[in-house]
């Protein structure tokens, strides 16, 4: 029974880590909504939310309270079970992604060696892909169960968009995985920590494709067609109210955080702080510096997401599909070919 040979300490350690990661991502998502409004405001020469607390810092709490206090409305014609399942699924799928992200190297607490990663799955990035593509079920089910034509249309858009862009995303990743030779996120990050360069140096085109597709997967502007306000009223969450709507909105922000974390880990060295010798400080402090570094990288990516959102308008639907199928997939294939050729030439 080696499979059950887990000691209690291990389980407690993982439970604590899961709790920390889940609540931290919820907290960050909460403040990402605030950051979104603040960034939008500053880019548009406005002050943004500034009334609740100092600098408006309590605004996300007020927003959350408002969402919780609102009346739960389930439309008569809606399929009740699926209507409730939809936001739950969207939230679960986006939170599950964080299981394989390496948040830091490792720390020693109470004589235990704790890896700062919930699960170092050897197919980590494949797992991320599987979970992310589940996220579209939340949108699909929610949109269909609302029994509203705009919601359904938006759900269809979301599904076709996700499928089109997942292809290019996967192809862009394959090129990266060819250079790393591993699917485990921990291994990929460790390679970058030990190696001289981050993966972005080897895969600039791959990163560009990955970044664009990640934006599309998160339903962020300029790819926010599933929630195009002026075409579809509000999109797949039109019939939702209260915290169910909150779950959808939150899931979107958590997706954004997770894709930022994955981009940081895969292409930008994860928890690696450049020009800093980790061996020069105590291992625990070095690990904490690593966590901070990853968080800073995530914040920078989130800012980039927002910055793009408040700069460029939405794509037209045929342009979106054309970009996905006619530009990104051939480009990703070309990138793959190029990487393969370079690897062969080096052998």
């Amino acid at each position: 029974m080696t499979i059950l040979a887990l000691d209690l300490g291990f389980i407690i350690e993982k439970l604590i880590m899961i709790a920390i990661v889940v609540f931290a991502s919820l907290g960050i998502a909460l403040y990402t909504t605030f950051g979104e409004r603040k960034v939008a405001a500053i880019l548009q020469d406005r002050p943004g939310p500034s009334r609740a607390g100092p600098f408006g810092l309590l605004q996300p709490l007020a927003d959350g309270l408002k969402l919780i206090m609102k009346e739960e409305i389930i439309p008569n014609a809606a399929n009740k079970w699926l209507f409730i399942l939809g936001p739950g699924l969207a939230m679960t799928a986006s939170l599950m992604t964080c299981a394989v992200i390496p948040w830091g190297s490792a720390i020693d607490v109470f004589g235990r060696h704790v890896e700062l990663q919930i699960a170092d799955v050897n197919i980590g990035i494949l797992y991320v892909f599987a979970v992310v593509s589940m996220g579209v079920y939340g949108i699909m089910i929610g949109g269909w169960a609302s029994n509203n034509k705009f919601s359904l249309m938006s759900a269809l858009r979301a599904a076709s968009q996700a499928i089109s862009y997942e292809l290019a995303m996967g192809l862009a990743l394959i090129a990266l995985l060819m250079t790393t030779g591993s699917l485990s996120l921990k291994t990929i990050v460790e390679q970058q920590v030990q190696g001289h360069w981050w993966n972005i140096v080897y895969q600039p085109l791959g990163f560009l494709i990955f970044f664009i597709t990640a934006m599309a997967e998160c339903n962020r502007t300029p790819f926010d067609l599933p929630e195009a306000e002026n075409e579809l009223n509000f999109g797949y969450h039109q019939e939702y109210s209260s915290m169910k709507l909150g779950f959808y909105l939150f899931a979107e922000y958590i997706n954004m955080i997770m894709s930022s974390a994955i981009m940081a880990s895969m292409y930008f060295g994860g928890y690696d702080l450049p020009f800093f010798n980790e061996a020069s400080v105590a291992p625990n402090i070095a690990a904490m510096i690593g966590v901070g570094t990853l968080l800073i990288k995530i914040v920078l990516f989130i800012f980039l997401f927002m910055w793009i959102r408040w700069t460029i308008p939405r794509f037209r639907y045929d342009q979106l599909m054309g970009l996905g199928w006619k530009t990104l997939i051939p480009l990703a294939l070309f990138n793959m070919l190029l990487t393969g050729a370079v690897i062969l030439a080096k052998l």
């Binding site: 880019l43 020469d45 002050p47 700069t311 460029i312």
Partner: protein, 178 residues
Amino acid sequence: MQALTNKAQAVSRKPMTFLERLYLINIIKGMMITFSHMFKKQPTIRYPEQKREFSPVFRGLHVLNRDEDGRERCTACGLCAVACPAEAITMEAAERVEGEENLYREEKYAAKYEINMLRCIFCGLCEDACPKDAIYLSETFAPANFTRKGFIYGKPDLLIPNPKTEASAFAEAKGVEA
């Protein structure tokens, strides 16, 4: 068609170059523009703390004036009501009795003087029409109210405080509305 001015510019119909079709450079240009706006001065006036200054000719809420002895100037002649294009002003006149000389300047005064602020268009014609300098438009505006009735301002709302008996309130009113 002949152009009226020579300012018209022909629209360029030349096909986009490869770099333009790439779109990325233009996106980055756009992002630089939005980024530069982070350092611009915000034109926002944070309202309850900061207030926009009215121009000196702003026409706001009406004030019924008193003379230097604190007597009401209005004689209820009705010229303001006649001049009012929105028909917002109504009044009832009364005769001054013995012993009220310190209250009213002339023998006749307005016992009731009402302005409907929902009708008023703040044109200032009442101010022009008044032969006694009794009505002025101040620099404040009518605050929100819950009922329509609340917008009918009577004499207690309109009269300026008495400079003799309520000197501080008068100074305050002058300071805000001057």
